[in-house]
Symmetry: C2
Subunit: 254 residues, 2 copies
């Protein structure tokens, strides 16, 4: 594969491990089982997203401690899980069938539970954030960032009937990359400029992932597009200390 991006895997894996263990502590299967079992399932079923990992990495770039960003990163993961679960449901509706090979594994719960859980995860994420015990002012800023990313902007993307559920989900999920990076920078105490730059960096990372996952596109076109986006992404990091950006920039293969 020509455009596989080499990454500093150990760094990103350590971040995912930290987010995962926070989520495991926060979302235990407890009473009422009928709520927390599907919530647990839909939290841990989706593939990992770099949106939440970027949150931790951005915090570290601005000189913050990882612990300050882990709750925000967990909230970002939950929002992503909600979108992912919602898409699963919409996809089923679109295909118009709940049967087929492997569909039983995909749909462990009924569509009513898929809908209730994907909706219920959103307030739970805000509850988790608000109860984190991190700096209050920064936490409130993060609540605003995340609410904006999953709120009105998601609605704008969603109202276009021409957009397939899958693409729509991709669009909203991509918003989360910029949001994730911004939230990390906020929790790490970044300046307004640092927050803005890291947000744009996150948006480019989301776009690069979108290009790479687009199976309909010509490989040559993809390479060119990714190169251009990577250049724009790295430009946003120029104002930071060269040593500090080594890790976060590895996500675009530098």
């Amino acid at each position: 594969d020509l455009i596989t991006i080499p990454q500093n895997l150990a760094y990103w894996e350590s971040i995912h491990t930290d987010i995962d263990s926070h989520l495991k502590k926060s979302i235990q299967i407890r009473e009422p089982i009928s709520v927390f079992e599907p919530m647990h399932h839909f939290t841990f079923t989706p593939p990992k997203t770099t949106a939440s990992a970027l949150c931790v990495a951005a915090c570290e770039v601005v000189g913050g401690n990882r612990e300050d960003a882990v709750v925000a990163a967990s909230a970002i993961h939950l929002m992503y899980a909600s979108i992912y679960t919602h898409n699963l449901l919409l996809e089923t509706v679109r295909v118009g069938s709940e049967s087929g090979p492997g569909i039983e594994n995909l749909h462990k719960f009924g569509s009513n539970i898929e809908l209730l859980t994907s909706d219920g995860i959103v307030p739970f994420a805000f509850e988790l954030l608000a109860g984190s015990g991190n700096d209050s002012g920064r936490t409130l800023q993060v609540v605003i960032e995340i609410a904006k990313a999953v709120g009105a902007q998601g609605m704008v993307a969603g109202e276009d009937d021409g957009v397939e559920a899958e693409k729509l989900g991709g669009e909203v999920a991509r918003q989360l990359h910029g949001c994730g990076a911004a939230c990390g920078a906020i929790m790490g105490g970044g300046t307004l400029e640092e927050i803005e730059r890291l947000k744009r960096y996150g948006v480019y990372v989301g776009k690069i992932e979108g290009v790479l996952s687009d199976e309909g596109k010509d490989e040559g076109v993809k390479v060119e597009l990714v190169e251009r986006l990577r250049g724009l992404a790295l430009k946003e990091l120029e104002c930071f200390d060269g040593k500090k950006i080594q890790q976060i920039s590895s996500i675009v293969g530098v």
Copy 2:
């Protein structure tokens, strides 16, 4: 009507006016019109709820200023509006028809917009709260209260397939009465005990409204039930200054 409850109307109307004018400032019809026009519509279409009014009244009972509670009360109204809009949609699905007398007025927008808007109002309410500029610690507590009321508890109520959409909505909406009163007490700087007592008072108020709106029940049974709930509600107010509770207790007709 035997059990119409006389209220201190001027007091409650002044609260609704203050909440309304805050919501009107916050949700103006602006770009993107396709998002904010339906959001405006679904915010101002539902009948007034006492859940948001209780928020302001509870704040005043614990000695807080009305301005401290108006944003939280607006967020409560938005959550209620989201539930109300969701129910409108579910009711249409249940009845299985989008036609009928008056249905055009009820459904000014398509069902996709109803769904997207009811979902999108929830993060918007958190955004509004987080950006209020009120005390950070209290605001975060309110985020937690509201998230709990509309999150897992709503899911518990919703998973029971036997419950009709209308009743389910009633159930979740009732949670909002306790939540509203608790949030007001938090914003007004109430003690833990005051917050708990006002929350229970709110739950009783919600139950009383539920009984009164239940058209299937015998009038005699309703009178008896309301009397009992009113007694329990007023018991929760005993620890407060007698003069201060005059206004909030007028909602149960004292």
